[in-house]
């Protein structure tokens, strides 16, 4: 029992003294905020890119936009997200005071490049008769996309969006590279002030694991519901 007392003592020193657990809580909130913000931004960017790419297939006027999209996709997919963070913080948004916002933008722009392809395939999976029916009623291509195609496409790809959220949650742990105090960075800071090299890191690992397992569970329940509603 002696090791146990010693351990609880260490935990007390590490997390409770000086209210250090509070840094972890704000870090946790920041991680969630960055993840959700980046996901939302990524889905918006991904949708715009996907729609441009789908429409550019049959429309010469959209070629320049399509070309811009390709540049965006190539750059984002061709560089590591940590490097993108560094570029964001020290080159593009160097005068910005709000690291969280810059992190959301960076992870969002990054995620958009990966989500775009998922959304595009979701759009392609919608029966072509849907576009024809929309056009035949008098809707423009864009309105048909908005009211008729995209809602069906998103239903198809919701599980993939869920997986993107899980990936983002873990990916944001590198935000500490640019001094954003997310949960990982918070743990690291506690580690450095208390010289407890074990517990802060393990705790953070447990938090991520619990979040991911919870989300995965939620997702599979959701997917089953979705499939049932389709019969």
């Amino acid at each position: 029992m002696e090791w146990f007392n010693k351990w609880t003592n260490t935990l007390y020193n590490t997390f409770i003294v000086d209210d250090r657990y509070k840094t972890l809580i704000t870090g946790f909130e920041k991680t969630i905020l960055i993840t959700l913000g980046a996901l939302a931004l990524g889905v918006v960017i991904g949708t715009i890119v996907a729609v441009i790419k789908v429409f550019a297939d049959g429309n010469k006027k959209l070629r320049p936009l399509d070309f811009l999209c390709n540049i965006y996709l190539t750059i984002i997919r061709g560089t590591p997200v940590v490097v993108q963070l560094l570029i964001s913080f020290f080159i593009i948004f160097v005068s910005s005071k709000d690291g969280t916002v810059v992190a959301i933008i960076t992870f969002g722009v990054n995620s958009g490049a990966y989500v775009a392809e998922t959304i595009r395939s979701g759009i392609m999976a919608v029966d072509s008769g849907q576009m024809e029916a929309g056009r035949a009623l008098g809707f423009s291509k864009l309105r048909t996309m908005q009211y008729i195609i995209l809602p069906q496409a998103f239903k198809n790809i919701l599980p993939a969006i869920g997986n993107e959220m899980i990936a983002l949650l873990k990916e944001t742990s590198v935000a500490g590279y640019v001094a954003v105090m997310d949960i990982t960075k918070a743990a690291n800071q506690i580690k450095n002030t208390t010289y407890d090299h074990i517990n802060p890191i393990l705790l953070v690992a447990l938090v991520y694991l619990a979040l991911v397992m919870g989300l995965t569970k939620l997702l599979s329940v959701f997917e089953r519901r979705l499939r049932k509603s389709e019969r």
Partner: protein, 247 residues
Amino acid sequence: MNDNVIIRTEGLCKYYRGGAIRALDGVDVEIQKGEVVVVIGPSGSGKSTLLRSLNLLEIPTKGHIFFEDVDITNPKLDVNLYRRKMGMVFQHFNLFPHMTVLRNMTIAPIKLLKKTPEEAETKARELLKLVGLEDRAEAYPSQLSGGQKQRVAIVRSLCMEPDVMLFDEPTSALDPEMVGEVLDVMKNLAESGMTMAVVTHEMGFAREVATRVIFMDEGQIIEEGTPQEIFDNPQNPRTQSFLSKVL
């Protein structure tokens, strides 16, 4: 120009693969107000292409389409405005699966004709009643039979108050026992004075309801006339040969 002409085409051509496939090869057709024009012909003869060109779902390679005297092949026109006035019913219904029957019917009038939701819904329920589906307004398409789906598709088009209705093999995807209920709706629509162009293999319907029958083959109109003329006394050997196979 005659005020009663709703659609007129001039030398309409649709080529694929740089002219290797001539889906439409110089079609001149005129549809007058109140006419029910039935288009028949072998598979691949260009019937669908003709119908789909009339509302520019296919862009013709050559030729002109006049809708109520406006040349809608003019690329400067906003074709969406003219499509509203041409209802279209597809072989595979193409209902919107993520919307209820009612929403399927009201979304276009609300968004495009700026009707209030109440107006649009009242009109939709009226039409549903006409086709015996008033109790299915809140259902989703996946909960309907094929015949019910097609009846909804027809009234969905009617909600836009079109000047002409185009039907592309509306009963071909249906189980035989459901063909009648859809043809009945179309017959009632014809009797109410709607201008219709119908591609179908239902020769009984053509004989009974059509004011004019057009026989197409290889992208061209081979022969046209009243149902009596075409079915009882076809002139062209190709018409004769086709009819001998399907009648």
